[in-house]
Amino acid sequence: MKKFLCSLFIIFVLWFGIDRIGGAGMQWVVWHTNEHFTKKICKIVSSVDADILLLGTSRCENHYVPSIIRDSTGLSVYNAGISCSASIFFHYSTLSHVLRYHTPKVVVLDTGESEFAATDYNLSMLNYYAPHIGRCAAADSIFQWAGMLNRNRFSHLYRYHSLSNMAIARLFMPENKREDNGYTPIDQPPSYPDNHGALQESRPRDEQKIATFRRFISLCRQHHIRLVLSISPSYYHISPHYYDVLRAIAEEEHLPLFDYDTPDLYIDHPEYFYNNSHLWEQGARLFSQQFAHDLKNYLSH
């Protein structure tokens, strides 16, 4: 038995060594890969220097064109939207990482129900920040809350398990040249969405998300950042009370809320949409002009 336990201990020591060496190797891969999200997150944790920081999901990433907003406002812009990152926990991590080395003047949070409603995507994409654990205590606190911090600290290789295959595969592939400061255009679809789908009703409140949303707001206040909430267009008919919780928080916190969805501004224009939730490039450019105009007006007051 003693020999068996010794053998297991030797295996553990060897594994520990492999884990640490492999972890260092994967760290190199992460910083050199052309995998879209991994590369974008490396940029977010190290070198964003824009005046306006756009945060959100794919609806942010595909809807806000930085060059259009920059030309209108005269401020530099970076679109830090990440597909599938549909929760305030992820956006809180993103902002915390950026604030470690740079303070933007304006943060635009392209929001939806993921900031206050119970959904299945609470921790979606959060693993992309796992390789950067240890850099930012505020972001690590999200991992701690999710019960994912200890296992990521224990094994360095574990930090890469959800992105290793893609990061390695994309190491040798060219980067996406069409990206404009974090904005990724969507090509024209073969056909536009042909119906609005069923009426979208609000989901139940998630108090943990609302608490994190308030932490997000106070983080902006602490750094004297002007926070703007925005709801970009979708091709759904939504219930008039869909964003009631969000509106209440915005009012309570005295935050501007640019709502391009509820007034059904785009609902008669399927030709701007790639699918029910996403504008393709032409729609995004049109929307960005409108948003830039509204943002400029707001900032000038």
Binding site: L8, L14, G22, L157, Y158, H161, I168, R170
Partner: protein, 473 residues
Amino acid sequence: MLFNSIPFLLFFPTICGLYYCIPADWVRLRNIFLLVASYYFYMSWQPVYSLLLLTSTAVTYLAALGIDYYRDRRKQKVCLVASLVLNLSILFLFKYYNFLASNIVDALTFMGLRLEMPVSKLLLPVGISFYTFQALGYSIDVYRGTTRVERDFLTYALFVSFFPQLVAGPIERSNNLLPQFRGKRTFDYESAMQGVRMMVWGYFLKLVLADRCGTYVDAVFSSLDKHNGGSYLIASLLFPFQIYGDFAGYSLIAIGAARILGFRLMDNFRRPYLSCSVGEFWHRWHISLSTWFKDYVYIPLGGNRVGRLRQYFNLMVTFVVSGLWHGANWTFVCWGALHGALLCVEKALGIGRREYHGLSRFLHWSVTFILVCLAWIFFRADTLSDACTIFTGIFTKLGVPFVKASDFGIIALSIGLLLLIALRQENLVPQKTLPSNRLGTSSFLSFFAIALMIAIIILFGVLDSSQFIYFQF
């Protein structure tokens, strides 16, 4: 509690540590401890279903005592039949009732009659087919006189519920496992290290090979309308590796865990995809189930000792029942029937009666592999209509497939490693090509290989505690 979950990774070492703290001479106490651990393991799913396990155990235990008690063969038969009927009734109620009821309703509707039958909302208890068959095997063995009756209820209950093989096999035989529970078990270093290696390799097969293949296969099979024949073809080629990695991986973890505890379970897989005939495939795939059906269904039906036509009939019955064992769905029945038919054809043509070499071996292997892959389509498809869509899609709508290049790299490397090891074990490649043949259980290289494999699993495995496919059976 899944083998690929954090609770099991805490449960198993704890159980091992406590188990070996009990002196080896205290066999009964060790058995009681393992019994409690096994029920705890089973109850972590649905505690109430442990009553079914207990019922099956009690019924077969009492039936065996009855068979042993009576000298009259007819009374013995009554005991055996009572055990079979009770156990199979439970299995039928939980697994097949809804299938039968819906088919009766459909058939009557087809004939213009209307009948409403109640629908059972009972959940299928995990592992019910496995432990029921294991317990029935014991009853039949006692009736046949090929195994000694077990008078100690706790020892017998442990035989039925032993946690490493409780929910997905191997379906153990009483004359292999029961004597091991009766005897003294001392710790054996070599055996325990073999167990560790088997578990690690099993985890690799499940988490890296099977679950990576699963991401593609599930994406295609769950939305057939969004994919073309090219994707169907790739998914159909990956599914055999998914199910092999999933089930052989589970079996290896089970056998390895049992070996660390000092028990030897039967092998369940012997490189099935290197078979040169469908008959050979069934000597290598899910061995514990195929030998169960051979011993308790095929041979009692007359086996090979009857006329040719009757042999074919026996084969078809055995394989249709085997298909049905896997699930209450016509897809499984078709899968079983297809294998039965292929075996009949092989028997008629005399295929698989001799060893093949060189080109002949390659041709036989290729044909067998393709046939097995095609049959798996029935197994994986949700309905017969889906299976037909896939078949027709492969042959008529072959377009550019949906590709997940990042996953394919890992899958290709995993299959390559699996193939290399399998070829070496079959002595089909020069022994020098792989050093592991000469690795002892305690060499540095062996330890390093285990540590490296764990690191690979952590880095490339799908670590979301996904279900094992065979749990649903």
